[in-house]
């Protein structure tokens, strides 16, 4: 690159940088983030919720136009809130989700010592091919990209396995989770991909722990072995006060695919047991999720509000609603399709 080209690009780049700073200089400064955010656990639950919705959206765009959408022998996840708060109406419903998620998103497979307060010490997940960076190392003939996150004290490492996928590895204080060991233990299978690990080859002290993406598990039960397998899709129904879009609720229902795989998949910024229904409520900044199981189904009721979840429904109100969920009839469900 000659100096003339550098000069031209720099001139424009510096002007663009100056203008960008001038643009942000007049933006409103939001309230300072000052909560004790357990980012890792928040991320897990948010990702789980997203996966639910990714599946749902995938279904919306690909669902068949006719015929039964519940497999033989499957439990039916089409349930509704049996009673609504005063003034609330059901907005719509869709599901069961039977289509796999979009290939680009990928599944998340977690492995580690124990979930603990900061999440698993070690996680593996498939990601798109490493194609955004030129800061590679080469380990055992493979391209490897390391991304330290000093704030969380973790390191993310991406190990190329082929032209399409890499294995992502997130580790925290687990020194024996070397790249060599990971390559010996893990492989990427399937399209969309998931990381498959032979438990016998995991480093000492590392064991498979609950998967954080129950929605994926529910949609692809053939990928899992053991457990109380109930091949079912997932169904979603939405609720809100009539004429008010500032608060609302979503009921998501999935089949339980290996009890432990599903039940322990969520981590919140804080969580509280709800013994009345044998569930747990997870609190977030602008939403609250109540998770419980019944009849080989996992239910999650999420509420949100512009001024926080309490502006929508209290925990007691959520628990009362949870106690009155009921199966929807096929005709009733069909009428709620968007």
């Amino acid at each position: 690159m000659n100096d003339q080209i550098s000069f031209l690009v720099d001139e424009r780049g510096r002007a663009a940088g100056d203008q960008l700073r001038a643009r942000t200089a007049v933006r409103v400064i939001p309230e300072a983030p000052m909560r004790d955010d357990r980012g890792w656990r928040t991320l897990l639950v948010v990702a789980s919720l997203a996966l639910v919705l990714v599946g749902g959206l995938a279904y919306v765009t690909s669902r068949p136009t006719g015929g039964s959408d519940v497999a033989d022998g499957a439990v039916d996840p089409r349930w509704l809130l049996g009673e609504l708060p005063d003034g609330w109406v059901v907005q719509g419903a869709f599901g069961p989700v039977t289509a796999p998620p979009t290939a680009g998103f990928g599944a998340i497979d977690l492995y580690g010592g124990a979930p603990g307060v900061d999440g698993p010490a070690f996680a593996l997940f498939p990601v798109d091919a490493i194609n955004e960076s030129d800061s590679f190392e080469t380990v055992a003939g493979r391209a490897v990209l390391r991304e330290p996150d000093q704030a969380l004290g973790v390191t993310e490492t991406y190990i190329a396995v082929d032209d399409t996928y890499s294995i992502g590895m997130r580790s925290k204080g687990l020194e024996n989770a070397s790249i060599d060991r990971v390559l010996a233990a893990a492989r990427v299978e399937g399209r969309p991909a998931r990381v498959v690990v032979d438990p016998a080859t995991l480093p000492a002290g590392v064991a498979i722990v609950p998967n954080g993406d129950s929605a994926f598990a529910a949609m692809r039960p053939v990928d899992l072995v053991g457990g109380d397998v109930a091949p079912a899709g997932m169904a979603l129904s939405g609720y809100a006060p009539e004429g008010d879009g500032s608060v609302g609720a979503t009921l998501a229902v999935t089949g339980v695919v290996g009890r432990i795989e599903v039940a322990a998949g969520l981590y919140g910024t804080s969580s509280t047991s709800v013994p009345q229904i044998g569930g747990t409520v997870y609190e977030f900044e602008d939403s609250r999720v109540l998770v419980w199981e019944r009849d080989r189904l996992q239910f999650s009721l999420q509420v949100w509000g512009e001024d926080g979840p309490d502006g929508s429904l209290t925990v007691d109100e959520m628990v009362a609603l949870a106690g009155k969920v009921r199966p929807a009839s096929a005709e009733e469900w069909a009428q709620l399709q968007p």
């Binding site: 690159m1 690009v9 000052m34 004790d36 955010d37």
Partner: protein, 176 residues
């Protein structure tokens, strides 16, 4: 309480909120430079300041606390986990309630920033620090913990790619 940057003076506790208000907008510009989206930039900036808040007692004693936040921004900009979280937030909102009508306003010289955001992540980070933060390559190398030669090489390749894109695209030849 008065903040100080003099290393020979005992560090005094800098109020976090004052620090946040003093630096939020500048960090937001950097975050836009590496992400190319106002929404992502705001999320990333908030995440970085939230991380600083959690360790504020230590970070406030640093000679240059905002450098820590900037490093956090550029590192997290390529984090797959952060991208998952951002997608998740978007999808959660999209699925659970009416989509926001908020549209990202174009930045000044959008053609330039569009070209920047086609670069590999490592080059994008260097470009954002070089043009938005006006850092020299030595400072960038220190902040990113990369060899100086690597940073210079990445900057050179990025300049070449930007020149090629901006001159091959007729719209790229003019700017604000």
């Amino acid at each position: 309480v008065i903040a100080t940057n003099h290393t020979d003076t005992p560090a005094l506790f800098v109020p976090y909120e004052a620090f946040y208000h003093d630096h939020y907008r500048r960090v937001l510009a950097l975050a836009y430079g590496v992400t190319g989206s106002w929404g992502d930039a705001e999320d990333l900036t908030q995440d970085a300041f939230a991380a600083a808040f959690r360790k504020w007692r230590d970070i406030s004693a640093y000679e240059d606390p905002v450098a820590w936040v900037k490093r956090c921004v550029v590192n997290r900009s390529v984090s797959r986990w952060r991208r998952l979280a951002a997608e998740a937030r978007t999808l959660t909102r999209a699925g659970a309630r009416t989509r926001s009508n908020y549209q990202d306003p174009d930045p000044p010289d959008p053609d330039f920033w569009r070209a920047v955001h086609t670069l590999p992540a490592a080059q994008r980070q260097v470009i954002a620090l070089f043009y938005v933060e006006d850092m020299d390559t030595e400072t960038i190398a220190s902040l990113l913990d990369r060899p100086l030669g690597t940073v210079k090489s990445q900057l050179g390749r990025a300049r070449g790619a930007l020149h090629e894109q901006l001159t091959s695209d007729p719209k790229g030849t003019s700017h604000e």
